[in-house]
Each structure stands twice: as structure tokens, then as C-alpha cells.
């Protein structure tokens, strides 16, 4: 709860910066504010406070909120270029911080209205930010598409909530859960409601076949915003997904788990296979982000004691890998003019740090030991195996192999191909620090994952 208040306050401060003209100071203020929030958020650990039946700040919420805030600190360092423009600087800060506040609601709600509010608070800033590159047609397209599709899925969500309310007479997750568990006389509109909510959530995490918006939006939006969507938004959406389906709808798992099985298998295969044929690296990462949603769905399907901790670890590992890869991508694309695989040629010679950071990030995304991504995948596979989904694990393994194919294309380009130019790309000191941090975090989490997975 502290996190929510602090983030909202930070957002308001960001808006005030325009009036009281301390825009120059805003960047350090926000970073420090986020770090403070991160620390104070941890104070809520094991307190488990509930707020008027609307939010329950349990350990699940603290853990996921910490991931959201921690990753957003890294994101702010990565996206420093996004906060250099004079014109809409404060808007950018405020929108991001409000989106983050929405994310915190999404990880801690216990009431469907709060879920809806959280999703909207998160999404509306993202619609604006996706279109924040006003001169660029693609950015406008991205914002518009995201808005239309997002509104569409919100419609599903609301419809689902309505039907469930109609069937149970409550918005409260625990009440609903108690009403339907073991009760054979649940009206069938409850199940329709569950399915509609499932579709809405699958939409938000961009799983196949509801993923069509993701590549266009990811590619069109400014790279910094894309990174935010791929990491923080996705983590928040998964946390919300888990809260709803592992608690409230677990009792009716029999009717939605098969649907999700198919969705996960499709997401893994379609996401990875489509990523192979992309020429634009950004679009490739967009499809790979779709594919990563598939792995996390595996944990949700497993629906056992590993589910929450494996999604938490996966989201963290994946977010760090994505921040690093989008960070390198935006630097390379900016200096070399485009983001095709060729633009990475010879990066190992001109900028060894960028190349190593990218390699570690891609190895992590591909799931190669000793990186965090490997353990994340391993842990998810264990979770799925424990509930007897061996076939799904084999599909996921096949998908990982395909994943290696496109991730390694970039590694090969960086280390093997000759660059057209021998000039090193200039990298700011902040970015250098960021990349060192991501490399260390990726390896450290891969070697010592225990303390994260014990949290939940």
C-alpha cells in the first residue's frame, strides 16, 4: 500500500515540476523516489494488510510489486533518452509513474472492481505513451491500435465481471471462490463469465490467438515504451492473471484449463516460429515476448505450489533480459539507422560491452545456463511436470530450440560478421552501468535463484 501511495505522489510531483519548473531535477528525484518506494515496499513483507476488502497486500503483492518497481528503476536508466525531450518531459514521467501505480493495484486487488481499475490505470497511460512519438506515423498507429484493441479486451473483461456478479452477487474474490467451490448448482453464466475474463487476461498478456496487436504496437511505439510494455506491463498482467485464476477460479479449473493448454501451446509455437522470420530485431523481440508469455502460461496451467514463485522468477529474469536487449537495441538502432539484424554486425569489435550485455541477455532469454533465464525455464518446466503436463513441456522444449535460432542470429552477427564501419558507438556512462548491472544480475540470479523462489 505504501508503494501505491508513494508512486501516486511521485506522479503528482512529476506533474508539478512543469508548474514550479524543476524539470531538470525530475530525473534524479524520480529515481531516488522509486528506490525509496522499493525499500518501503519491502517493509510490508509478512504484514498482509487488507484495505476495505479492496486490496490485500500479501506477500504475493509485495513480491510482484518489488519486481515491478525494481525493474522500473532499471528501465528509467535504460530509457534516459526518452526523458531528454523538452516538450513533454513531465507528461512522460507522470504517465509512467501512474501506469506503475496501476500495476501495483493489479498485483494486490481482492475485488473485481479494483482489478478493472488497475488494468485501466495501467493501460490508459500506455495508450498515450505508445503514441508519444508524435511525428512518427507508426507510433500513432501503435497508440491507436493499442487503444482499440485494449478497449475491446476491456469490454470482454467488464462483460465477464458482470456475468460473474450476476451469478454470485459479489465482486469479492474470496466470496466468489467460496460460493462456487464444490457447488454444483453454479449458474452456467458464471462459466461464461470466467471464459470472457480468461479471454480478456490472455489478451493483456498477448497470448496467441489474441496477440495480433502486440507486434505492431511493440514495433511502432518508441523503443523505451516497448521495453516498458514488454516487462512491467506484462509482469503486472501476469500477476493479475494469477491472482484471479489461481485463487478465485481454481475450483472451476476443469473447464478453463484445457482452453489454456491449447492457448499456451499455440503461444509457444506461433510466437517462436513467427519470430524466426522477422527482419526487424524489434519486431523479433516483440514476437519473442509473445512466446515468453507462453512459458509463463505453463506455470499457470500447472496450478500447484510452484505456480506463483515460478512466474515471479520468470517475470524477473525475462524483464532483466528484455531491459538489456531493448537497451542495446535502441542504442544500436539509433546509431546505425535501422534495427535489422545486420545493424548488429561487428558490434563485438566496436563495442565489446554492448555485445557482451546483449549476448548475456539473449542467452538468458534463450534459456542457456548459467543465466537467470535458464533457471526460470527449468523451474517452469518442473512446475508443469509436477502436475503431469509432460507433453506441454516437450512442446516448450521444441519452442525453446526455435528460440535459440533467432536469438543466436544476433549473437552471430555481433561476433562473426564484419561491420561496415569500425567506429565505436558512443554509450553514456549511465548505460554502461546499467549493462554491467544487468549482466551481473542475470548471472547471479542464474547461480543463486534460491532466495527469490523461496519468497512465494
Amino acid at each position: 500500500m505504501t508503494a501505491l501511495i508513494l508512486l501516486s505522489a511521485l506522479g503528482v510531483i512529476a506533474l508539478l515540476a512543469e508548474i514550479f519548473s524543476f524539470k531538470k531535477l525530475l530525473y534524479p528525484v524520480v529515481i531516488l523516489g522509486l528506490i525509496t518506494t522499493f525499500v518501503l515496499n519491502l517493509v510490508d513483507w509478512n504484514t498482509g494488510k487488507t484495505w476495505y476488502g479492496m486490496m490485500h497486500y500479501d506477500n504475493f503483492a509485495v513480491a510482484f510489486a518489488s519486481v515491478l518497481i525494481g525493474v522500473s528503476v532499471l528501465w528509467f536508466i535504460m530509457a534516459e533518452g526518452f526523458f531528454k525531450e523538452e516538450s513533454s518531459l513531465t507528461d512522460h514521467f507522470a504517465l509512467i509513474l501512474f501506469a506503475l501505480a496501476g500495476g501495483v493495484i493489479m498485483v494486490s486487488y481482492t475485488n473485481m472492481t479494483m482489478l478493472f481499475l488497475g488494468i485501466e490505470i495501467l493501460s490508459i497511460p500506455m495508450y498515450v505513451l505508445a503514441a508519444s512519438n508524435k511525428e512518427d506515423v507508426y507510433s500513432n498507429e501503435a497508440g491507436f491500435k493499442y487503444l482499440i484493441m485494449g478497449a475491446f479486451s476491456t469490454g470482454f473483461l467488464l462483460f465477464g465481471i458482470t456475468l460473474i456478479y450476476g451469478a454470485t452477487g459479489s465482486f469479492d474474490l474470496t466470496t466468489i471462490s467460496n460460493l462456487v467451490t464444490g457447488n454444483s448448482a453454479v449458474p452456467s453464466m458464471f462459466y461464461v463469465g470466467v471464459l470472457l475474463m480468461l479471454i480478456a487476461m490472455v489478451f493483456k498478456v498477448s497470448a496467441v490467438p489474441f496477440h495480433f496487436w502486440a507486434p505492431d504496437v511493440y514495433q511502432g511505439a518508441p523503443t523505451s515504451v516497448t521495453a516498458f510494455m514488454a516487462t512491467i506491463v506484462k509482469t503486472a498482467a501476469f500477476a493479475a492473471f494469477l491472482r484471479l485464476f489461481t485463487v478465485t477460479f481454481a475450483g472451476s479449473a476443469g473447464m478453463w484449463i484445457d482452453v489454456l493448454w491449447v492457448i499456451a501451446a499455440l503461444t509457444l509455437l506461433v510466437g517462436n516460429i513467427t519470430a524466426v522470420v522477422q527482419t526487424s530485431t524489434k519486431r523479433m523481440l516483440a514476437y519473442s515476448s509473445v512466446a515468453h508469455a507462453g512459458y509463463m502460461l505453463l506455470a499457470l496451467i500447472a496450478l500447484n505450489q510452484f505456480t506463483n514463485s515460478s512466474v515471479l522468477f520468470y517475470a524477473l529474469a525475462y524483464s532483466i533480459g528484455s531491459i538489456a536487449s531493448f537497451g542495446v537495441l535502441s542504442i544500436v538502432a539509433k546509431s546505425r539507422g535501422n534495427d535489422n539484424t545486420d545493424s548488429f554486425n561487428g558490434l563485438a569489435k566496436t563495442n565489446p560491452l554492448l555485445a557482451i550485455a546483449m549476448t548475456v541477455a539473449l542467452l538468458s532469454l534463450a534459456g542457456i545456463p548459467p543465466t537467470a533465464g535458464f533457471f526460470a525455464k527449468y523451474y517452469i518446466f518442473t512446475a508443469a511436470f509436477a502436475s503431469g503436463y509432460g507433453v506441454l513441456v516437450l512442446i516448450a522444449i521444441l519452442a525453446s530450440l526455435i528460440g535459440v535460432y533467432y536469438y543466436f542470429r544476433i549473437i552471430i552477427a555481433m561476433f562473426f560478421k564484419e561491420a561496415g564501419t569500425s567506429a565505436a558507438i558512443e554509450v553514456s556512462a549511465n548505460h554502461k552501468i546499467l549493462f554491467v548491472i544487468t549482466i551481473l544480475l542475470t548471472v547471479a540470479l542464474g547461480l543463486f535463484p534460491d532466495f527469490i523462489i523461496r519468497l512465494l
Binding site: I412, F416, P449
Partner: protein, 487 residues
Amino acid sequence: MITLLLIFFPLVAALLLLMVKGEQVKKIAFGAAVIEFIISIAAVAQYQHNADTQFVFNMPWITSLGINFHVGMDGISLLLVLLTTFLVPVIILTSFKKAYSNPTAFYSLILAMQFALIGVFVSLDGFLFYVFWELALIPIYFICLLWGGDDRARITFKFFIYTLAGSLLMLAGLIYLYQHTASHTFDIAELYAAGRTMDVTHQGYVFWLMFMAFAIKMPVFPFHTWQPDTYTTAPTQGTMLLSGIMLKMGTYGVIRWLLPIAPLGVEHWAYFAITLAVIGIVYTSCIAIAQKDFKRLIAYSSIAHVGLIAAGILAGNVQGVQGAMIQMISHGINVVGLFFIVDMLQTRLGTRNIDLMGGIRNLNPQFAVLFLIVLLGSVALPLTNGFIGEFLLINGVYQFNAWLAAFAGLTVILGAVYMLRSYQSIMLGETSVVTATFPPLEGYEKAVLFIICAAIIVFGIYPKPLLDIAEPSVVKLVDGYRTAIGK
């Protein structure tokens, strides 16, 4: 503790090496590799000749999932560690006159590779084993990608995908076993127990999930298609690492993990798998006969040799497994020698085509003798190291099935055909245009060849020290296997 030292010394050396620039880097790397060899000798000196796992170090790692950093060595592990620590300095020595671009990265990667290889051979925890297994892939991938020959990007990538596919199947197998352990742990003893509680069908699944990884690594027919291209394209030292040591990860995996975990599965599928291996032996020997490129010829001959090792292990008797142990060592030494000779020929003559060569014996009799010794070792002439291993292996396969042994035995005859024919074509006859001049051997080249030839002859005449190290563990392991299958 000595196990920890053996594992982490190369890693520390690799990391420290990154700070060194320039030519002295190879000397420092060589020094580090020699120190590692001395450490392993110290381990041999302390080793008690019994079947127990010694030098054990066990520390909790990821406790909530029952994963421990559990390492230790019995005779089987120790022998392979010894092979690794012996070959790595030799391999570094073979590169003393090479001018690789960015030598710092090159030697660092070799030492990093050694770290992972030692880790594979001493792991006593399924998860740890898997991590080291995968870790070994990354340095060799970059060694092949950065310093390899033509078309290396495509070829090394194929290699990477192939081996990774196998590894991931093994991972699935390990997780599957993990779910069946009583206390949810990856400890080797628990995994053994878990595997043995399954019926033959489920052990069959485990067999295939894990055997795929090992079969691709070795490689066994029909999973070998990555190998000739990769061996040919990789830089000489990369090829030596791949064929001399990395290949043994696969055979070691079968001995350490597959036989004890899924004895019924192995027994059920042994006939099929040995048949595959034997087909591979005959098929690749025939291809080797037709090769003109000497490096490629040896690559194919390596498939034939390792096919026999695999067949011997899967036969599941003491002769077969003991023969496999000896042959792993011998093959490692011989194949490094052969690839070094290929490299010497190529740097001197600018070609690897054996048809273009000839008459080198007259120009350099010393080289001719050393080459002949290495060659005789690899065709398993009695009194060379290759003989004992192949004899025991064929004996082991014979006890399993006489017909399979008869075909597997063809490897000796066909091996003699292609090796002696290539020797004839390279060394004997008249000199050709490319062999008009053949510069004398340099000091480091003599050193490498002397070391290898000495190993071939000494262990050919007196293999007892090596046999003794592995024997108690092999007997224990095979006894366990035969009890489990009820024979």
C-alpha cells in the same frame, strides 16, 4: 576440497587471463593448464583404489528444490578428469606458433571449457551435471564461431542446435526423474533409486530422453550429421577439444547416469541402440575410406571409434565398460595426435587433400616415425594403447551378441584400411608439387608428438595403472546394473 580446486582453478585462471594482453597469454594459459594437471596427479596420488566415491564435497545450493553442489570422484570420474587435465596443456601447446586474432579470448575460452568439462565429470547432482553439461557448449561454440574455417557460422550453429536439442531432452528426463524421487532431490543416489522404481516402459522413456543427449554428443549414427562438418571447420584446437574430451561427455554420461538410472530401459533398448552404433561404425568407416580431406577422414573415423565405445558400454558387462574406459583415454590421446598431424601438414603444405601429398617420409623420417606410431595406436595394433581398449570392447559386445561383435570388429579392419592407405598416400611414394619442401619439425611440435607417442607406447605395454584406477568402480557399477536387470 581437491575436487573444488580441480573445478574452479581453470575458471579462475580463465578470468585472470582476460587481463593479460599480447603473446605471453599462451604461455600463462599453458602454465595454468600444467598446474591443473599437477593438481590432478595429486588427486591420483591420494586416490584409494576402491569403488567408493572420494574427494566428495557436498553443499546445499538451491535448497528449496533439493539441488546441491555435490561433487566427488570415483575411479571412472578420476580417469576422465585425468584425461582432461592431460590433454588441455597438450592442446594449448599445439597452438604455440598459431597467430590467432585476440589470443586472450581464445585461451580464456579453452580454460573456461576445461572448467565445464571437469565439472561434468565430477558432478554427483543431476541439476549440477546439466548446468556443467550446457556450460561446456558455450566456450566451444565461440571457439568454433570465432576462429573456425569457411562457412563456420552455419556449421557451428547446426552443431549448437543439435546438441542443445539433446540437452533439453535430457533436462526433461531429469525433471521427470526428479518428480519420482522420494524426497524431491537431484542427488545422484536418489535419482538412481527413482529410476529403478519405474517399470520397463517408463525406464524406456527415461532411456530415450537421456540417451538422445549422449548420442548426439558422441555422436552415434544417425545423430552424427553435425559432426564431420563441425570437426572439419573448427580450428585445430577446437577440434581437439571436441573429439578428445567433449565427446567423452556423452560416453561418460551413459556410464554414470544411464546404466544405473534406467537399467531395464537400457536392457530393453540395448539391442536396438547397439545395432545403431554398429551401423554407424561400418557406415562411417566406409565413408572415411572415400575421404580425400585428411581432417574429415579422421572426423569420420572418430564416429566409428566412438560407436564401438557406445556399443561396449551398452552391452552392459565388465569387459565392455572397462574397455570403454580405456578406449576413451586412448582415443582422446590418439585423436589429438592425429588432428595435430593434420594441422602440421596443413600449415606446411597448405592443403589437407591426401591425394596431393606424397613422399614426406624421405624428406623427414623423424616425422614419419612419430606419425606412424600415432597411426598404429589408432588402428589398435597390439602393444599400442588402442589395442587393449578395442580388444575389451569387442569382447564385451561379443558376450552380448556374437553377430553384432563380428560387424563391430570390422572397425579394426576398415580402420586399418583407411589409416594405412592415407599414410601411404601422404608419406610414401614420390614427392609431389606441394610436398617438394617439408620444413623440419619445430621444438614444440616434437614435444607434443613425443608426449603423445610416449603415452601410446607406455599405456600400450603397461596399461595396468589406468585399468586399476577405474576397475573397482566399473565392477561395482556393472554389478549394480546386472543385479537390476536380474542377470
